[in-house]
């Protein structure tokens, strides 16, 4: 019986030969993670279970990245709950300030999530790790608490949607644009409860950072997980990082999909998703023609906070400056990304461009801190959501784009194409 990669990973972790869409399984979890927003509730629920220890002190990960560095007393108290639990449980993978980064940039970088893993995270963008050929999905705090204690999670096996990308990417087009375009086709609930498997010749040559941007936003189409089969590009990324064994899975050629969508990427331009939903994607040319003036640009996040994203932004910002009254925020995803930015001279370029460089944090992406918007303000952000009030006041607006469009827009003070500045 032929199966998809998602079905194979789920069957493997449930100790079954095969599974079918709709089947309920209880599966073993390789990694369970939470952040400073979701872990306090998970820890409280964990304590109700009457279990002394977490199922594995190397596989329960706590990453305080949302409101850190602590933005106020309340968030400091939330972060303290994580710290004390980590100490008490002897967690090997708790990340204190100075080591912490944005969870979905940090964990792949540190080799903590690997191909073939089953990963659940109390954060919806946990689906990012599908880029490595893992099954990774977001859950709430209570589901996470049960997994922290037992190492198990119940899951309904999803149907799979196959998206096949053909053709060569045009200049300035990134993985981010492919996923924004795809969400524009599927809409915000087009993959509800389903797996989004991304494949095709375009993906075969897409670098890991672009694959991570794509899997990261699978949730924005409602998907349970996004997934890309591991290949040589994956292995080149994983080999120097992995400190445990991993397994490579691939879909059978005759695996069954509920829907297949073929996309010719060669005509896709960089995309801009208009507020208030990530499925409102348009070509950057239309956005530029709409003459949308902006107040802030955010380059970073779990979608686009990797070194390659900053190299791309720097290639446009070099020798140029942010427009007058523009707040340009650069947020490296991790300390390693930050260090690499310094080594490569990118921080110099950003400082010359009069950008503010923030410590690694989710910060403004969710309107938490470090760049919240006032009423009537507009931002271009390389983040993943642009719902009402996402980055601050309910009457502020967020346009989503790739780092090149964001950098060009910061320079011109309005949504702009990269071609307008180079």
């Amino acid at each position: 019986m032929s199966q998809t990669i998602t079905e194979k990973i789920l069957a493997f972790h449930a100790g079954l030969d095969k599974v079918e869409p709709g089947q309920l399984i209880e599966a073993d979890v390789d990694i369970a993670l939470a952040n400073d927003v979701t872990a306090p509730i998970a820890i409280a629920e964990f304590e109700k279970l009457g279990v002394e220890k977490v199922f594995d002190d190397e596989r329960v990960l706590l990453i305080p990245d949302h409101f850190t560095p602590n933005k106020d007393i309340k968030s400091a108290e939330q972060a303290k709950i994580l710290r004390e639990f980590a100490k008490k449980q002897g967690l090997k993978n708790y990340f204190e300030i100075g080591r912490v980064g944005i969870e979905h940039v940090l964990l792949p970088e540190q080799g903590l999530v690997l191909p073939g893993d089953l990963i659940i995270g109390a954060d919806s963008h946990t689906c990012t790790y599908g880029a490595l050929g893992a099954f990774a999905t977001g859950v709430g705090s209570t589901d996470l608490a049960a997994a922290m204690a037992t190492g198990k999670v119940w899951l309904r096996v999803p149907e799979s949607i196959k998206i096949v990308y053909h053709g060569k990417l045009a200049p300035w087009v990134e993985g981010k644009d492919l996923i924004l375009h795809t969400i524009g086709i599927l809409k915000v609930d087009g993959a509800l409860y389903q797996a989004l498997e991304m494949t095709g010749e375009t993906i075969d040559t897409l670098p890991m950072y672009g694959r991570m941007s794509m899997a990261n936003m699978a949730i924005e189409a409602g998907a349970k997980n996004g997934i890309i089969a591991p290949d040589e590009i994956t292995l080149d990324y994983v080999r120097p990082r992995a400190r445990r064994d991993y397994t490579l899975f691939a879909s059978d050629p005759d695996a069954v999909y509920c829907r297949t969508i073929e996309i010719d990427v060669s005509t896709i331009r960089p995309q801009v998703a208009y507020p208030p939903r990530p499925d409102k994607s348009r070509s950057v040319d239309q956005a530029a023609a709409d003459k949308i003036e902006i107040d802030q640009v955010v380059i970073g996040s779990c979608t686009n906070g990797r070194i390659e994203d900053f190299r791309l932004a720097a290639s446009l910002l070099k020798g140029r400056k942010a427009a007058p009254y523009m707040r340009l925020l650069i947020i490296p995803g991790t300390q390693d990304v930050y260090r690499q930015m310094i080594k490569e001279g990118l921080t110099e370029i950003f400082l010359d461009a009069e950008a503010l460089i923030s410590p690694p944090t989710c910060g403004p992406c969710l309107g938490g801190h470090m760049g919240v918007l006032a009423a009537g303000e507009r931002a271009v952000a390389t983040t993943n959501r642009n719902f009402v009030g996402r980055m601050g006041h309910p009457e502020s607006e967020v346009y989503l784009s790739n780092p090149a469009v964001a950098a060009a827009s910061a320079i011109l003070g309005r949504i702009a194409t990269p071609e307008e500045v180079v």
């Binding site: 509730i41 279990v51 949302h66 709430g140």
Partner: protein, 169 residues
């Protein structure tokens, strides 16, 4: 499960978790604090006016976006007895069961029931009756496994029972 009767608050499609409980309030997980800001970015007056036992009727894909369990916690703590929608986003769906917030799926009820209507719900039978227009609807049955979780008193109780049995056998 008891019969529920309450006044309806109506919302549209794709109500996201940022609208249900904006992240600016996520520096706490206290249910009563969260309830004060429930649905704030969708309807600023909701939290001040909602009464215990009221019902939310919404469009498709309710609860899309983040995994924050604060969303169903805020709605439950605000006093809402049940949410009716054609579909729920998958993480919200699980979180609602895990936090004991009743949710029912019915496209017909979602379409027909308007704000301010008086509605009676029989959870055991899965029936939704709009007293204002005199129409009755049947919700999609709750999946057997989810029903078992509810019968056990939620996921944590389910595991408490299982773990205590495993320890003593």
């Amino acid at each position: 499960m008891n019969i529920i009767q309450g006044k309806v608050w109506k919302f549209g499609d794709d109500v996201d978790t940022d609208a249900i409980i904006p992240a600016r309030y996520l520096n706490t997980s206290d249910p009563l604090e969260l309830a004060k800001h429930c649905m704030e970015d969708a309807d600023i007056e909701f939290a001040g006016k909602v009464k215990v036992g009221d019902i939310i009727v919404a469009g498709k894909n309710f609860g899309c976006g983040s995994s924050r369990e604060h969303a169903p916690i805020a709605i439950k703590a605000a006093g809402v007895a049940c949410i009716i929608a054609p579909t729920f986003a998958r993480i919200f769906y699980r979180n609602a069961f895990n936090t004991g917030l009743m949710i029912l799926e019915s496209a017909e009820a979602s379409l027909a029931i308007e704000a301010g209507h008086e509605v009676v719900i029989n959870p055991a039978a899965g029936t939704i009756k709009d007293l204002t227009i005199g129409k009755q609807f049947t919700a999609r049955p709750i999946p057997e496994f989810m029903q078992k979780l509810l019968d056990d008193g939620g996921l944590i109780e389910h595991w408490r029972n299982r773990l205590s049995i495993e320890i003593f056998t």
